[in-house]
């Protein structure tokens, strides 16, 4: 999956897998925060910029 994303031109870090069980509410919130932080660093998707420019 990550390889395909890279070939298409997107950063592989934009997709991530997280393992959780149903009681791990805090872990979910942490995962959400971590992912948001990572994506903020990567910036908005370059594909999105194209869509907005159309």
């Amino acid at each position: 999956m990550k390889v395909l994303l890279e070939q298409t031109g997107l950063e592989a870090e934009r997709v991530r897998m997280f393992n959780l069980s149903s009681a791990m509410a805090e872990a979910f919130a942490d995962a959400a925060k971590e992912m948001t932080k990572q994506i903020t660093e990567l910036g908005p998707s370059p594909l999105r910029t194209q869509t907005e420019n159309e």
Partner: protein, 227 residues
């Protein structure tokens, strides 16, 4: 089955360069089961190409369609409208499928998305190995069901060469020596004397060496097509 692999995305992008409308055509038989060109792969290819072309600043409209078999013209009829609308058709069929599309739609420009490799079978999930070389004159009855033409690196017909080491071929320790396999199989079947029978030299004219081949079955031809 025919076993093929997808070309790298960069190569595919070069092949469809300049087209505004691309149709990706998948095939529902061989390339589906080797996960190279089935309907899923066609949809993924089309989506990837749309995304990549957008990121390159030159967005292309890429759609996909999959037919049951790409190697027979009748199955290609159903996509005639989509082919007509496309600037370039990217075939995810084997080499036969690509050519069938060209023959059935002479006005279309068709490019291959796969590298067609061999006829073989899956030895385990995710691994396919060559088994048949389509020599046109099958000798599997003399070799215990193991083909020396496809499985021996040198296609030897008289037994192993000096490079057979511990049952493996000298070119690659992962490749079994076909003649070792043949010997072991005939031995366990108690039919080693088959190897002692003298055979005439193989007539290779039935193989690719004799030129492009054709099979005509008069019993199957329609009356109006008889010469």
């Amino acid at each position: 089955m025919i076993v093929a692999e997808q070309k790298p995305l960069d190569e595919v992008k070069t092949l469809i360069d300049g087209a505004q409308n691309v149709l990706v055509v998948g095939c529902g038989t061989c390339v589906t089961v080797c996960f190279a060109g089935g309907s899923r792969e066609a949809a993924i290819m089309a989506t990837s190409l749309r995304m990549a072309s957008k990121l390159d600043g030159n967005p292309q409209a890429v759609t996909d369609a999959t037919v049951q078999r790409q190697c027979e013209w009748e199955y290609l009829d159903q996509i005639s409208e989509q082919v007509a609308e496309a600037d370039i058709v990217l075939s995810l069929g084997c080499g036969i499928g690509v050519q069938a599309l060209v023959e059935h739609y002479p006005d279309a420009w068709v490019v291959p998305g796969l590298n067609t490799s061999f006829m073989g079978l899956p030895t385990e999930q995710g691994v396919w190995a060559e088994r048949c070389a389509a020599c046109g004159d099958c000798i599997l009855g003399l070799t215990g069901g193991i083909c020396p033409i496809a499985r021996c690196s040198k296609s030897l017909l008289n037994g192993p060469c000096g490079g057979s080491e511990n049952g493996h071929c000298e070119i690659d320790p992962e490749v079994p020596c076909a003649w070792q396999l043949i010997y072991d199989r005939l031995s366990s079947a108690g039919k080693l004397d088959v190897l002692l029978e003298l055979q005439p030299p193989k007539n290779w004219r039935t193989s690719r060496d004799g030129g492009p081949r054709k099979i005509i079955r008069d019993d199957l031809r329609l009356a109006s097509e008889e010469a």
